[in-house]
């Protein structure tokens, strides 16, 4: 593509929107408790909007602590029978769920794109296939737990209280619910307040699959409902994905209890590009690393560490590539960059980038036109960034890349590890031994070498240090839901 003279500008494409008619969003939704949709005890509701248009998509019941209590009771009641089912039977429920997700994947992809704002290309090709794969993977574990390396007949914990974020709503649900059910736990899950819809559609999938009542309960709501859930005395297991600040609050809250906890928190991933890296591939990896899902990814490669000798070459290529990214209607199949999930998140990204400029980092944003309604932020990078700069330290959770340089591998490792976080990192070099040496010294739970942002249900995911503890995915992911 770089051979065409117009490569520095996005190609003109005719609009190619995915049809919305595949999904039927009801004007209102209840809480899903004990197999039934119900109003919140206090009758409260909240609106969920499409971040790309600010259109109200639906009105959703807002859970309070009273609803949490009802849902936990339902989950507790269901636990006895669900945990006593032969593993092979639990497996078949999960296989059913996986299949129904595959059948309804286009509908769910469009729904997710509407509610979250991310491009249909991503929900269709990444989120939904991974959601189905996750259920399929853990389904197979349900009758093989004796062989998982946790001793004979490992027991479930009981009721799992799960709180998930808005960046991958249905995928995070799958990461939480699939292993919990496979191991014989029952769940109460709170989706994020800006993206409740796919979890409510999942409730309908549970109904279609004939899942026993109370095994899965879905409570849309805000942080207060999440806190009530994680604090509930009859919750045996807490699983949280979200900010490090909330993760620490949960760790304090469960102190002195018997609750088992897994936390998947923030990150400030370093993407390290050595001078012998294949530059074109590295540039694609940098783009995937920080602009996938508008950078609203905990494991994003938000710090580019580029070897000084190739800095100019990499940055030129990167800016050229960013100029070709298409930002706009998330339902358009050609869109690369969708909307920021909420006005609140957009404000946070804006404030942090303003801080970056105020502190003296040099800002460059891709020359693209932002739609007049909705929440948008152009792909942006900062150069002349030092390790002390806020944009090099704080998780921005948006399409903003901070570029730092290094001279030696030792310096790269030291800079990469100079963070409270330890979730992900990337390494770009043609030299195999350097990959292994650097990977060995990086304090991060997931390392991508000559690739970035790859996920798979068989591959454990989770952080070091203040990026949290516990692993999700793979055999490792079972431990979080077993009394071992």
């Amino acid at each position: 593509m770089t051979s065409t003279p117009s490569a520095s500008a996005a190609f003109e494409y005719a609009p190619a929107p995915e049809s919305r008619s595949v999904v039927d969003i009801a004007p209102s939704y209840g809480l899903f408790i004990d197999g039934e949709f119900a109003e919140a005890a206090d009758g409260k509701v909240f609106k969920t909007v499409s971040p790309s248009t600010e259109e109200v998509l639906s009105e959703v019941a807002q859970a309070s602590s009273e609803d949490v209590d009802r849902a936990v009771k339902a989950a507790r009641k269901a636990f006895e029978k669900w945990s006593a089912l032969p593993g092979a039977e639990r497996a078949k429920y999960l296989f059913r769920i996986a299949r129904i997700i595959q059948e309804r994947s286009r509908e769910l992809a469009v729904l997710e794109t509407l509610d979250n704002g991310k491009p249909i290309k991503e929900t269709r090709d990444a989120d939904l296939p991974l959601v189905a794969a996750h259920f399929f993977y853990y389904a197979g574990w349900a009758d093989k737990l004796d062989h998982a390396g946790y001793g004979a007949d490992p027991r479930p914990l009981g009721v799992a209280g799960q709180v998930i974020p808005w960046n991958f709503p249905l995928l995070m649900l799958a990461w939480k619910i699939a292993p919990a059910l496979a191991t014989g736990n029952t769940v109460v899950l709170k989706p994020a307040e800006t993206t409740p819809l796919s979890a409510l559609f999942f409730a309908d999938i549970c109904r279609q699959a004939g899942l026993p009542k109370g095994v899965v309960n879905i409570l849309p709501g805000y942080g207060d409902a999440g806190a009530a859930l994680t604090a509930h005395p009859d919750v045996d297991k807490v699983a949280f994905t979200g900010s490090t600040a909330v993760g620490k609050a949960i760790a304090r809250q469960v102190a002195g209890t018997d609750k088992k906890v897994t936390l998947e928190l923030g990150g400030k991933g370093a993407n390290i590009v050595f001078d012998d890296a294949p530059i074109d591939q590295a540039v694609e990896g940098i783009v995937t690393g920080i602009f996938f899902n508008q950078g609203q990814v905990c494991c994003a490669g938000s710090r580019l560490l580029v070897q000084e000798s190739v800095q100019d070459e990499v940055l030129d290529a990167l800016k050229r590539r960013l100029s070709t990214l298409r930002l706009g209607d998330p339902l358009d199949k050609n869109t690369d960059i969708g909307a920021i999930n909420s006005a609140e998140q957009l404000a946070r990204i804006t404030a942090l980038t303003e801080t970056g400029e105020a502190e003296g980092a040099e800002r460059w944003s891709a020359p693209c036109e932002l739609p007049s309604s909705g929440y948008w932020f152009a792909p942006t990078l900062f150069t002349n960034v030092t390790q002390a700069h806020t944009v090099a330290r704080d998780e921005i959770f948006g399409p903003v890349l901070s570029v730092l340089t290094f001279r030696t591998p030792e310096e790269a490792v030291a800079k990469a590890n100079n963070t409270q976080y330890g979730l992900s990192a990337g390494i770009w070099t043609e030299k195999g031994s350097r990959i292994l040496a650097v990977a060995d010294r990086l304090r991060a739970g997931v390392i991508w070498a000559n690739t970035f942002n790859k996920f798979d249900p068989t591959s454990p995911f989770g952080g070091y240090k203040e990026s949290g503890y516990g692993r999700e995915g793979g055999r490792h992911g079972l431990e979080a839901y077993l009394d071992v």
Partner: protein, 295 residues
């Protein structure tokens, strides 16, 4: 026997491979189960605890960087050294725990055998908890365990030696380094263990042993920003355990809560895996030809 007066030992801390007194200059009386004076043990301060963390951090990279085989050899060497000094430890354990010599000998034997058990684990744990993952794409994907880092270990109060060994050995077997708070009332076997570790080729700083008041030393270690994990085995006060867990949340330390443990039972792998992180590395596999297969 002659009426020769025995030479008493001044018990000292073990920090960074050296045997300092408490920087505070304080000591406290240690007695046996019948209240007979045994020794004056160092009464460690919070500063001693911080110094121990510095020593443990300094030693951590080098210790984790040794081959698992060598770590196993060194842990086995600890067992060898203990075997040679068994009489001393039998006497100290008998005094500390009010046991007969024969019962104390059983405890010491078990503690020596526990070092052997963990010596054998160093080069096997990665194969038990790590491995390749069959991802649905052309990627080599490998999960490996790595040490969490610096671990504070509050040793059991009653089981002054077998319990102590059972909480130290699994921590260091995998490449962590440890700051150990000995049993408050029975610290002497722990302080003597420092002398054994110092002569077992264990690098200085890998294990650091403090004696003193659990309630005084532990809060600053639980809140210390350069400690990665804490084993609360020896915290018997529920309120203190909760307070320490809350403090530990500040930098998300990995916490093992206190729970009843039969130290003479098969230890399993729980304490070994509690202080490990899992690192997963992805790399494209590429392919050699159009077929995409090597078969």
């Amino acid at each position: 026997m002659s009426d020769r007066l025995t030479v008493l030992k001044t018990y000292k801390l073990y920090v960074g491979g050296k045997f300092p007194r408490s920087e505070s200059g304080r000591v406290y009386e240690v007695t046996d189960s019948k209240n007979k004076w045994l020794a004056n043990a160092p009464l460690s301060s919070r500063k001693d605890a911080r110094d121990a963390v510095v020593a443990a951090r300094k030693a951590q990279g080098g210790w984790a960087g040794k081959t698992a085989y060598l770590r196993g050899q060194i842990l086995y060497r600890v067992a060898e050294m203990l075997e040679g000094r068994k009489d001393q430890f039998v006497r100290e354990v008998a005094d500390a725990e009010g046991l007969s010599k024969s019962k104390a000998a059983v405890v010491v034997d078990a503690a020596i055998d526990r070092w052997v058990w963990y010596a054998g684990w160093t080069d096997k744990v990665a194969q038990i908890v790590g491995g390749g993952n069959p991802v649905a794409g052309p990627f080599f994907n490998l999960s490996s365990p790595e040490p969490t880092g610096v671990v504070t270990v509050v040793a059991p109060q009653e089981s002054s030696f077998l319990g102590l060994v059972s909480v130290i050995a699994p921590v260091i077997a995998t490449g962590n380094t440890a700051v150990v708070i000995a049993s408050e009332n029975s610290p002497l076997p722990a302080l003597s263990l420092g002398e054994v570790l110092a002569t077992s080729d264990l690098p200085g700083g890998v294990v650091n042993i403090l004696s003193g008041r659990t309630a005084e030393i532990t809060p600053s270690l639980a809140s210390h920003q350069d400690v990665n994990a804490i084993d609360l085995a020896g915290v018997e006060d529920d309120d203190l355990a909760k307070e320490l867990e809350v403090a530990a949340a500040d930098n998300l330390k990995r916490v093992v809560r206190p729970q009843p443990v039969d130290w003479s039972a098969d230890p399993g792998t729980h304490r070994l895996t509690a202080f490990l992180e899992t690192k997963t590395v992805w790399h494209p596999t590429g392919s050699l030809g159009a077929s995409g297969s090597s078969y």
